[in-house]
Assembly symmetry: D3
Homo-oligomer: 130 residues x 6
């Protein structure tokens, strides 16, 4: 179906063209990834999603690499391959090493296991954690 085919960069007009330009500059890339070309079917969605992402993923109390690793951890838990691959790529570009990624994966595996052990035994929240 048409809405499932990403829009071509040279077909972008007006607001979409502007946002594509900002994405390439901010990310220091020469081609717009499929994600943004897909969202371009809906310029409001493209603009809102890009603005949200720029605001949230910039360095703050957490550095940019840590934020990307957290993003990837969520994406693995949600089984989203595109999201895992694109944000692992971003994490590495921002300085994450292979060892950091592998340790993040171990934590994700452990958390998923223990989350289910907690559910299994219906563990009540200890007072100290409230």
């Amino acid at each position: 179906m048409k809405i499932f085919k990403p829009i071509k960069e040279n077909e972008a007009k007006g607001r979409v063209k502007q946002i594509f330009k900002d994405i390439k500059k901010t990310r220091n890339i020469t081609k717009i990834p499929n994600f943004w070309r897909s969202l371009a079917h809906n310029p409001d969605t493209l603009q809102r999603t890009w603005q949200n992402l720029k605001q949230i993923m910039k360095k703050g109390a957490l550095d940019a690499v840590t934020k990307e690793l957290i993003y990837v951890a969520v994406s693995i838990t949600n089984s989203c391959e595109y999201c895992t691959r694109s944000h692992t790529f971003a994490a590495k570009k921002k300085g994450a090493t292979d060892q950091m990624i592998k340790e993040m994966i171990d934590v994700v595996g452990l958390a998923n296991q223990n989350n289910k052990l907690v559910e299994s035994y219906h563990v009540e929240v200890d007072k100290i954690y409230k």
Copy 2:
């Protein structure tokens, strides 16, 4: 049901008693949390889970705070309240500030939204990410 009631500390014997001792010492706490008291119904599970956790969560290429934040991010995505509360507590004890936790939460919200936008448009993985 009986297996859903955490074992009392003073009822712990043998291997379970030893592990409880190690948990209190390693974590610098005086009471065993409900999670470990529940796993104690199955000493093999208790020992394996505690050994896994000690191995994975210790400082490596990622520091211990970052690992706790990743653990919490997964737990939020899985809607596990106990896990979120107990590991937010651990993260703060190891040095995470409120601002760091709030930024982690923002990344988790964003990743969950964008993961679903990716699924919606069936976005194919760009070559550069493979």
Copy 3:
């Protein structure tokens, strides 16, 4: 493995053949989709699933398009590509426009984000909602 290969239409016999006929007539299609050909390995499952679907998806207080959009929203949340594609197809056949689908996607993204913000802050249910 054999159970993962859809049954061919011309191999359908007895009850399965009858249900295939009903599917083609009800849906106004000429080929049985892979989903139903897979379920046909288990005639009871095929019959139960088809009867459930006919009963639930027919026009009621909600029109058929709205029901398909809700179905797709759930399938996106579950990351089921086949389900998303086949029911987006059904929604369009029943009258959904591209704009309706894009707005549904935006709601799905928003709900997934806010669901996680709610989990993050352990928000208690307000009295007015109970």
Copy 4:
């Protein structure tokens, strides 16, 4: 922990106070729900989330009730009780009947069942759906 306690309305200042005022006016309510009072710990998050929600949930090609029902369908699938209750409330306020809600629930149950049947049999996407 402090970040898990909603901020009191009379403690809201500056930007947060303004947004609280806008929420009450737009929603025609007299008390700020716990969700918004929790997000207020992070004024950027509060503002972004409220703006996103206003933009996405307003009447478009889909009417406001349909959007709320889709929101609830996602929230059920994610097991988020607060989200289910608060948006079922919103749906009813905007005109949804009990019968509409019950039919939405049936679709959600069916979609969740069939999503898993699809995963079980590894059903390949039919050409017609691409």
Copy 5:
């Protein structure tokens, strides 16, 4: 909200009353659990769900205990407390021992961990498994 309050047994009429009677007889219980009393808001849903359950959960190539354990394993993975508790109860009534339940929980934990390791490394399906 009214649809969230289970219907009382002595208010059940007609078809609902008949199904309640069948549930009590089949399950050998004297009180209708909250689940069925909630579904009774929608007699079609009640009837369909009860018929589906009777057909699927009866002894076949898998015995009734194994089916209940599989049901619980899915419910833990979905974080559904009611489902976990009610079907653990059913499993025990049909003969499951505490040791069987604890071993099931271990498998659930392991599978959830390994599922995420598979997603993390984007492991491709080996030919032998297709």
Copy 6:
């Protein structure tokens, strides 16, 4: 990315080589599956995961086939294709019949549907189940 390419068997050294040998012997196979070759990027993870799996999946109060079926049920619920395929293969190798697998699938579909009906109606846990 390199960490997403499985390590070749003839490149395995030291501890990894030993574990690969144990996997082939224990499983009675001649080629190491992609899963273990991927984990080998991180020898600690490989060793821990293989030890956990051997300990948990061996015959106990539950037989080995039942454990594999429970593993598959979780993997379907998590939409992990690799996991579903590899452990369905394992289940069949250990004696599961096609009929057993199909019945397991029916239970998984039913549980996923009913889990969501429970969430929809916010069903409270009956006293008898606690």
